[in-house]
């Protein structure tokens, strides 16, 4: 039954509903796949001991005729940034090694209530700080397309799990591109919902004004089905929106069934079609523009002059918020405690614990954030960055007057080699140039496969962005573009991935 792993979540759902397969078989097939390939890929940090039991329970429920949601019985991988009652939740850090939270994140609770089958927790850059998963304290994840290359980050584990058919679905978190950039470099689909569209309760916070939890899948429809499960208001997250959301799956089905972009104004952000990008990424992007135009889209160029300041603003806001959020790792309530030789005060214990428990990128960003927030520099750095945020929101507002959706490459390059940028923080930060503006403005963004770059045969990604709260528009047009691209190739992109 190894074929089960190559089905999409939507296809698995149909087979589970019709009784053609049982969740136990589906779950076992994915556990077998993990056992076979995760030694090479290292997408998972922990595996659930209960997956098969949970699956058997769902099969019993189905047999008894209980009403079940569309994804009931479908396995899922969960980024280790989300708290889970039954598995450790480390956020990729030694400071939380072995920590099992006393509560589930709201997103995890919703997955359980919808009867999905958690397979395990996926690898990530420590506290989601990074673009390659190389800053995980537990070793990097490898890109299934080329094991010597990075799977993107911070959510490289979730993207690699989905790309290597270890799981049909995964959950990620996106602060500056941590869902979309891994999607781009692994040939998968990633969605950062509108800020406040998905609960952050129980998601270990990196930068609270930027973080958003979202779907990691192989198709736009699967992402929509998962978004329908995890989205919606949560009274436990005070930034959660009270909106009534439409069915994203319905939007994706509408876009994918008769794919056309007739009358859709597609905006190309001039500043994100940059000369510094890898030639093959730019080539595939321009071919995609032609394809969209041939299928009815009205291509309009839009300018966002303040995007050139986005990365700078982000690397002030994020470290500032992170330095505050990570103050909770103080060796008192949870996680590691290191007692200095010869003893010391509680502050000495904190310093020794954080020295031993945090990796280099986390230390770098906490120090940077502490500097940006310190008296005398606050206005020049943090205050200015917040003003840039206003300017970027204004750029988006004027762009969305001319366009229904905006598109750009989802990442400036294909997957780079492991180790290539690890000692050059600034080069690493520039990976996020395409994805950061959406986080600063709180708008939704999606990355879908855009073809293989001719020069290296590796996946490229197309980013779509829509106004805040217009996530359904992304699913509708994203599914249409996905279908048009696949028609032009004659196959899905992920079907071209090496078999491992």
């Amino acid at each position: 039954m190894t074929d089960l792993i190559h089905l999409t979540a939507s296809e698995l759902s149909s087979k589970l509903i019709s009784g053609e397969v049982f969740s136990v078989e589906v779950t076992q097939a994915h556990l077998d796949r993990i056992a076979a390939v995760d030694g090479d890929v290292h997408a998972f940090l922990h595996l659930s001991k209960d997956a098969l039991d949970t699956a058997a329970g769902v099969d019993v429920l189905r047999k008894s005729g209980s009403p079940l949601g569309p994804l009931a019985g479908v396995p899922i991988a969960i980024k280790d940034v989300l708290c889970t009652l039954d598995m450790p939740s480390t956020a990729g850090s030694k400071i939380l090694e072995g920590w099992v939270p006393p509560y589930d994140a709201t997103v995890v609770r919703k997955l359980r209530e919808a009867n999905l089958i958690p397979l395990g927790k996926t690898n990530m850059d420590e506290f989601a700080m990074g673009s390659s998963t190389e800053f995980s304290a537990y070793g990097p994840t490898h890109n299934p397309w080329d094991l010597d290359r990075i799977p993107g980050g911070s959510g490289g584990g979730s993207a690699a799990a989905v790309a290597s058919f270890e799981a049909p679905l995964a959950v990620g978190s996106d602060t500056g591109g941590s869902i979309r950039q891994p999607g781009a470099v692994t040939g998968t689909v990633g969605v950062k919902p509108t800020y406040g569209g998905v609960s952050r309760y129980g998601a270990i916070a990196l930068a609270s004004s930027l973080d958003q939890v979202g779907p990691v899948t192989r198709t736009v429809l699967d992402a929509a089905l998962l978004h329908d499960v995890i989205g919606g208001h949560d009274p436990r997250d005070s930034t959660s929106l009270k909106d009534e959301w439409p069915s994203f799956a319905a939007a994706a089905r509408k876009g994918g069934s008769t794919p056309s972009l007739k009358g859709v104004r597609v905006g190309v952000v001039k500043e994100l079609d940059a000369p510094g990008f890898q030639a093959g990424v730019t080539q595939r992007f321009h071919e995609t523009l032609d394809l969209l135009q041939r299928n009815g889209a009205e291509i309009v160029e839009v300018s966002a002059p303040n995007f050139e300041y986005a990365v700078a603003a982000y690397y002030l806001i994020l470290p500032a918020e992170a330095s505050s959020n990570l103050a909770k790792f103080d060796s008192v309530r949870f996680g590691l405690r290191v007692n200095p030789v010869g003893g010391g005060t509680v502050e000495d214990v904190m310093a020794a614990t954080r020295e031993a428990g945090f990796g280099p990128e986390v230390k770098r960003r906490i120090i940077l954030g502490t500097y940006a927030l310190s008296a005398g520099y606050y206005d020049a750095y943090y205050g200015s960055a917040q003003k840039v945020r206003t300017l970027i929101q204004r750029d988006f507002a004027s762009a969305f007057e001319k366009a229904d959706i905006l598109i750009s490459p989802a990442a400036p390059t294909t997957a780079f080699k492991l180790g290539e940028k690890i000692d050059d923080p600034l080069a690493m930060y520039l990976n996020d140039v395409t994805t950061i503006p959406a986080n600063l403005a709180g708008i939704p963004g999606m990355s879908i496969p855009m073809g293989l770059a001719p020069e290296d045969g590796l996946p490229t990604g197309l980013q779509l962005m829509a106004p805040a709260r217009a996530d359904a528009r992304l699913y509708e047009h994203g599914a249409a573009i996905e279908a048009l691209l696949e028609q032009s190739w004659g196959h899905t992109l992920i079907s071209q991935a090496p078999s491992l």
């Binding site: 939270p101 006393p102 509560y103 800020y195 406040g196 004004s209 930027l210 009274p235 005070s238 930034t239 929106l241 303040n306 300041y309 700078a312 603003a313 690397y315 002030l316 103080d330 060796s331 008192v332 309530r333 949870f334 996680g335 405690r337 007692n339 003893g343 010391g344 005060t345 509680v346 502050e347 000495d348 214990v349 904190m350 310093a351 020794a352 954080r354 020295e355 945090f358 230390k363 770098r364 906490i366 120090i367 940077l368 502490t370 500097y371 020049a380 750095y381 200015s384 960055a385 003003k387 945020r389 206003t390 300017l391 929101q393 923080p425 600034l426 986080n439 600063l440 709180g442 805040a468």
Partner: protein
């Protein structure tokens, strides 16, 4: 913008309660200098007339009914603590002997 010195980094590390070795301080000093030089350009466009945005989609007055909801038990709250005495978190002395 001021130069970042090893003394600045040591001071920041102390504020952030992160022990750093002299080698780490040296390396971070160089890296922070490069990073700050690159990100300081935010001040070029952040003029006085532009309001700051702290939250992308601002919500105000988010209240809930003033009733007791689901909470963690003492055992659950202490379950991840490095050290506890059964009902409280246990820490080292807060003040040094000389204080």
């Amino acid at each position: 913008m001021p130069d970042i010195t090893t003394e600045t980094v040591a001071h920041l590390a102390n504020l952030a309660r992160i022990g750093l070795t002299p080698d780490e301080i040296e390396k971070l000093t160089g890296q922070l200098g490069v990073i700050l030089e690159s990100i300081a350009k935010v001040s070029e466009v952040a003029t006085a007339d532009i309001p700051a945005t702290s939250h992308p989609i601002p919500l105000s007055n988010v209240y809930r009914p003033d009733v007791v909801g689901e909470t963690l038990s003492v055992e659950e709250a202490l379950s991840g603590a490095p050290e506890h005495d059964g009902s409280r978190f246990k820490v080292s002395a807060i003040l040094g002997e000389e204080q």
